[in-house]
Symmetry: C2
Subunit: 448 residues, 2 copies
């Protein structure tokens, strides 16, 4: 991102008509954020100075709270103009945002849109958030087989002049029922004879499309696997309804990664984005509550050995080490498994070798840290047998960590549960319970 003073200067220059280059919407949004931090009054003032044709894009780039404030500031006429300046997918998103903040205002805005825009927005909003249809844009460059290339180009020209179409990439060929029958890259169209029809120049060729009800995560995987920059979207009846472009996929990949990272830590990505403290508190507390139950379970295990601890207090001093090492080693294994499963590198087919690898690494670590910690415990409390006890417990618990760290995600996946959700708490339960039990149990047998 450019420096804020640079953006500010460019923006002022544009307003003074000293340059034709308006900063990019994301840069103006960045500037707005900055202005808001310094003085919320100036923020409101600046909103009115943003050129009308980029207002929509700027609004979409603002963080939730500022977006809400901006939507409040603008009149419904201004918002309708902002929506109309956007591509259909972005227009639907902005309408969605206005609905979230102010339902009445959203209706007023919606009423002011023209018929065609309303239809496009309705179509996109009819799909669930995780369906391809919710991510597509409806602006397309399309043609029929019996049109000449020249006629299609004339239409492209009109669409471009109207500002309806950007980043075209592909032409979509449809039949009379508006079913998609072929896709044609612009670079191939350019090499065609412009006076002839598409039918005369196109052989049968495989093409790929996605359905509007397809899961957007799976669509993203297709883009990644086959290196697509754009894909057409069809309805259940093969009719062309829109297209998804690589910039949508950037967002999907980032969101998916955020979801995984958050779920592993026991937070919900959607709640966190809302930036509402009450919601965040409730969501995090519910996860911490589950964690409290497992911690109590671990304490119950410790409670079984209260007489042992009373007889030899150093056990209480050392026992968190065994649990902590197990938890950390298990988290390493778990994280690698969850991520590699998400990327498709580990499937049930090759899960066995991944499991073996994790157990091998766990045992090696177990031996290493058994030795290190055994010597430390011996030296610390001047009792060789205490070293033996903690060493054995370390081997057992690091094995448990590797075994459960690798198998919990696989098991959850088999049960059709997202491995990123819940894996961590199950693992911690295992390493805590086994860690305390093995260490205190061995101590009771060997030391007392």
């Amino acid at each position: 991102m450019k420096h804020i003073s640079e953006i500010k200067h460019a923006f002022e220059q544009f307003l003074l008509a000293k340059t034709e280059h308006l900063p990019h919407a994301s840069e103006i949004a960045y500037l707005l954020k900055n202005v808001h931090q310094e003085n919320p009054e100036d923020f409101r003032g600046m909103l009115g100075r943003i050129p009308q044709d980029v207002r929509g894009e700027v609004l979409l780039e603002l963080p939730e709270k500022l977006k809400e404030e901006a939507i409040e500031c603008y009149s419904s006429e201004e918002l309708a103009e902002a929506v109309e300046g956007l591509d259909s997918d972005d227009a639907a998103e902005l309408i969605e945002d206005i609905v979230d903040f102010d339902e009445d205002k959203s209706e007023a805005v919606y009423e002011k849109l023209d018929e065609e825009d309303r239809e496009d927005i309705d179509k996109i909003r009819s799909y669930e958030d995780d369906q391809a249809g919710a991510w597509m844009q409806t602006e397309l460059f399309e043609a029929t087989l019996d049109e000449t290339v020249r006629d299609a180009i004339a239409r492209l020209k009109r669409l471009k002049e109207e500002g309806e179409l950007e980043n075209v990439h592909q032409l979509y060929i449809v039949n009379d029922e508006h079913r998609l029958v072929a896709t044609l890259a612009l670079e191939d169209m350019i090499l065609m004879d412009f006076e002839q029809t598409f039918r005369a120049q196109m052989g049968p060729k495989e093409f790929r499309s996605v359905e509007a009800t397809d899961d957007i995560d799976e669509v993203a995987t297709i883009f990644e696997q086959y290196d697509f920059a754009v894909l057409p979207v069809v309805d259940h009846d093969s009719r062309l309804v829109g297209r998804i472009t690589s910039d949508d996929i950037f967002d999907v990949i980032e969101e998916r990664a955020t979801e995984q990272i958050y779920n592993l830590a026991g937070v919900n990505d959607e709640v966190e984005q809302e930036e509402d403290i009450k919601g965040v508190f409730k969501n995090r507390a519910s996860w911490l509550f589950v964690n409290l139950l497992t911690a109590i379970l671990a304490s119950v295990v410790i409670g079984l050995f209260d007489a042992t601890i009373a007889a030899y207090v150093p056990l209480a001093i050392l026992m968190p080490i065994v649990a902590s090492m197990g938890g950390n080693a298990g988290t390493q294994t778990l994280t690698v498994m969850v991520r590699q499963m998400a990327l498709g590198d580990i499937e049930f087919g090759n899960a066995k070798s991944a499991l073996y690898k994790e157990i091998a690494v766990a045992l090696l670590n177990g031996l290493l840290f058994a030795l290190i910690m055994g010597l430390i415990a011996w030296a610390w409390f001047q009792l060789p047998l205490l070293g033996v006890v903690i060493g054995m417990a370390m081997i057992i618990n690091l094995f448990i960590a590797g075994f459960f760290g690798a198998s919990i995600p696989l098991l959850l996946k088999r049960l059709n549960i997202d491995p990123a959700v819940g894996s961590t708490v199950l693992l911690t339960t295992a390493t805590d319970v086994f860690g305390f039990f093995s260490f205190l149990g061995l101590a009771k047998i060997i030391l007392l």
Copy 2:
């Protein structure tokens, strides 16, 4: 991904010349993985049956171990053919892989490439892995300002026929010194008068390019922010050297996310990908060793209170609960901070409000779990004051968790250290040490 039997069938049909549609390289790679699991001998047999022009792509899609085996199987002539069938960026990657597995063979392969391919590969390999130049492809559609559009199209046709160019998207206009002076989308070129020069039809227009030495992560951020599908790459002297496309960015985003997820859990993404047990063990052990030191530090803190524990053993039973809740709450905060900082949602400018939010959530959780755990401890050990002690310790430790969880990543970032690396261990140290100290310290003062 299609079902394996479908891919197998399609592949067989192609080999029998019953269809012209060869499955995609990633599908063939998937089939190969499957065959290898069932019978490694069949895997070697199948390698020879892969049509020559997709061998390179298939090789690149294989997991490391199988890739190594396949590179071993193919002769250096076969590998050279595979490399020549690839786009320059992929060719450079495959050469890199061959170097990793067998340096002598890589030289033999390299010698067999033609001059031009060698130059392209050398150029790409001259950049570091994290530089844009290492990710670019050198195949381009370029023209000069004084060429006519028709001449440029004639060259495009030749390049396409030679299979040199795919997914063109943009034309790059260079001057006599091969400096990039403009970019032109194909959709705009198509609307031009083909008989005139570019100079006659193009006004001055801003365009964006990246430098070959730019950090690829920053390039990815530019793609995401401005919704690009392709960007030209220039050298330090503004000379056009290549281009980066959206599929490269998909990979960068996924890799960056993997790196963050792994770093938070104390594993190294590059080492994990090697699939070498010794390397993985060494890397993970070094992280566990750091963790061991912090665990020992926590034990030293417990050791300060050995007389307190000896006097009242339930303290040993309950103390891991305080530490565990702090660790988990802190991880929630830490994860959200690290991810939002990586996505650019949190910067120093708005860090204060993020910090306040985290502390507010931490205090709310502290009050809630102080109450719950206070009541449980009271009921469990029939001692009201024990409930007061654990409740107070819970509030203190959850506050510590929120405060350090939010400020450690900010502090590391300010010190120019990647917040994902090392945050976790610093946080655990804080929550363990403060957790044990506050609980046992309060117990000593209040209970004994």
